[in-house]
């Protein structure tokens, strides 16, 4: 028996044994992690900066249109907190 044969026959231990036993679960975990990271990056870059803050004050302004603060529909009312 060669040295290589001996090492491959020896039961694996620790992390590698765990990974070998739960291959599917590990793949799924990695895919899930990548997905979460990708979605987070997309969210931070393309969604969060465009968030429109609407509360009852702004809603009142939109619907009743206070004479003191006419609504101007440009970039000013972006919420830029991330």
């Amino acid at each position: 028996m060669s040295a290589q044969d001996v090492s491959s026959a020896r039961p694996r231990r620790g992390l590698s044994a765990f990974l070998a036993r739960h291959r599917l679960a590990c793949h799924l975990a990695v895919v899930l992690l990548l997905k979460i990271i990708l979605l987070r990056v997309l969210w931070l870059n393309y969604v969060a900066p465009y968030r429109v803050a609407v509360d009852e004050q702004r809603m009142a302004q939109q619907l009743t249109g206070s004479t003191k603060q006419p609504i101007r529909e440009v970039h000013h009312d972006r919420f830029d907190g991330r």
Binding site: V47, E56, M59, L63, T64, G65, P70
Partner: protein, 515 residues
């Protein structure tokens, strides 16, 4: 001032994504029950051919389901991104059925889809059939909940406005769920889905028969699709009539526009079979009328009058005046909640508040609104006639043409001679796209016909859109249209590929994923 370009682009984006999404949904709705019929035949007869049919049409269902989900998810986000004011104003009500749909119906459906594809070897025959039934139920439950949300936008029942939170609040959940408008929309829409599924199976089976391919498989599929399609077409027409009745109760402006009915006439009103509506003259240049029919269909009575567009605009003009008072009173109340005069005025005019808001398109400060602005807002309160008139007639015409097709297909199935009727098989093949055209027309009628409102009588569309920039909207529209077109091409490619392969697609070599 409100930027109408932003509002129009937001509408365009929503319409485009919704129309793409609804290319996939009706086929999922229709195929799901067809799969149940086929698999039931398998379980009852034990004939392998029915199992193959379930698997083959199930594969096409799966492709379609995946793309339907992909295009649907983005729409839910659009309420927040593009319609932030709408979401704030009515989110507590509108969000409820959407959340239930996501958590209950969609999860049920997607879990069952997984079991449907991967459970053939692992479940008993009856167990697998139960999965298929649950999958179809999940699909239809999704539809009911989405249509409850849409039905509420058409007829906002069971809710009230809270001036403190500046939101609409739900006061009667049962009224929301059992809203007659939502129910009639649900049955009409799912029946449209059944027609779509049937014509899809009928058309592809006809192609096999014309080519002499998979003959036994195609014959059985044709028969099932003809019977299911006949039931679907009859339902869609009867339930379309029911939808028309619901519209006549809740949205007289939509009905008058669909029928190009400018003047109120003595009951029962005549039906314009064809006409050439002229928006400027507020009259039809010419018309072919059938006396009494509209009144009878739309009101189910001989004595109830239907108001014409001019009368509706005049009545809305008064509501707009009253609504302006409501908005001004609300503004005063927000400055000073103890203002008794404002409270009384608000209580008196509150039910017309939405109509007052229509004027904000022309004057941000309603105290400065001129009579000409009020006239213009009253004019806007009825949607443009010609687009509705024609799309509605297209939908109805296609409905009857499809009824004739499936009626004949069913008749010749019973007589067992459809294989020889090559004209019928060709007709069925060419009619595959028709349900989609009818469905897109139907949604156009429903949504364009609701304008100028997002929530009928409560919230005008121009006050609902987020304050985005036109540039970012153009960017996202281009992105959506580009991406969705790719998805559509992918769907068409896969559909054509598997339809060409036929039941051979079930062999592992043709489909390694066994999905």
């Amino acid at each position: 001032m409100i930027d109408s370009t932003v509002v129009d682009l937001s509408r365009l984006q929503f319409a485009a994504t919704a129309m793409y999404h609804f290319l996939f949904v009706p086929l999922t709705l229709g195929l799901s029950w067809l799969l149940v019929v086929m698999e039931t035949a398998y379980v009852m007869s034990g004939k392998e051919i029915y199992r193959d049919m379930t698997k083959f049409w199930g594969k096409l269902y799966g492709i379609n389901f995946a793309l339907g989900v992909t295009t649907g998810i983005t729409m839910e986000f659009q309420f927040g991104t593009n319609w932030a004011y709408y979401s704030h104003y009515v989110g507590d009500i509108f969000g409820a059925p959407l959340a239930i749909e996501g958590l209950m119906a969609f999860f049920l459906e997607s879990t069952m889809v997984g079991l449907f594809f991967f459970g053939w070897q692992r479940l008993s025959k009856a167990g697998h059939l139960a999965v298929t039934v649950l999958m179809a139920l999940g699909t239809n439950l999704s539809a009911v909940l989405i249509l409850i949300a849409n039905g509420w936008m058409q007829d906002p029942v069971g809710s009230t406005f809270n001036p403190v939170t500046m939101r609409m609040e739900l006061v009667d959940f049962a009224a929301l769920v059992f809203n007659p408008v939502a129910q009639s929309k649900f049955v009409h829409t799912v029946a449209a889905g059944y027609v779509t599924g049937s014509l899809f199976v009928l058309g592809i089976s006809s192609w096999y028969l014309l080519k002499g391919l998979h003959v036994e498989f195609a014959r059985r599929s044709f028969r099932i699709a003809a019977a299911f399609g006949l039931a679907g077409c009859l339902s869609v027409i009867v339930l379309g009539d029911e939808s028309g009745y619901a519209v006549s109760e809740s949205q007289k402006s939509k009905l008058a526009a669909i029928e190009a009915m400018w003047e109120t006439e003595a009951a029962p009103a005549g039906f314009n079979l064809l006409a050439w509506p002229n928006e400027e003259r507020q009259a039809n240049d010419w018309e072919i009328r059938i006396p009494y029919v509209l009144g009878l269909i739309a009101t189910r009575s001989v004595s109830e009058t239907l108001p014409g567009i001019k009368e509706i605009r005049a009545a809305n003009r008064q509501r707009i005046e009253s609504g302006v008072q409501a908005v001004l009173a609300l503004e005063a109340l927000r400055q000073n909640p103890a203002d008794a005069a404002a409270k009384a005025s608000f209580a008196k005019h509150q039910q017309d508040m939405g109509y007052g808001m229509l004027v904000k398109r022309y004057s941000p400060d309603l105290a400065q609104a001129t009579p000409a602005m009020l006239d213009q807002a009253a004019h806007d309160s009825v949607p443009r006639v010609a687009p509705l008139f024609w799309t509605f007639r297209l939908m109805v015409l296609l409905g009857f043409a499809m009824l004739l097709l499936v009626g004949l297909a069913f008749w010749y199935s019973v007589k067992n001679s459809f294989q020889q009727k090559t004209w019928l098989l060709r007709w069925a093949l060419w009619f595959i796209p028709m349900p989609w055209i009818a469905i897109q027309s139907g949604w156009f009628v429903a949504e364009y016909g609701r304008q100028p409102w997002t929530v009928f009588g409560m919230l005008p569309t121009h006050l609902s859109a987020s304050s985005l920039s036109a540039a970012s909207l153009w960017g996202s529209i281009a992105g959506f249209v580009g991406f969705y077109t790719l998805l559509l091409v992918a769907e068409m490619y896969l559909m054509f590929k598997y339809a060409r392969l036929g039941p051979a697609a079930l062999q592992p070599a043709a489909a390694p994923a066994n999905a």
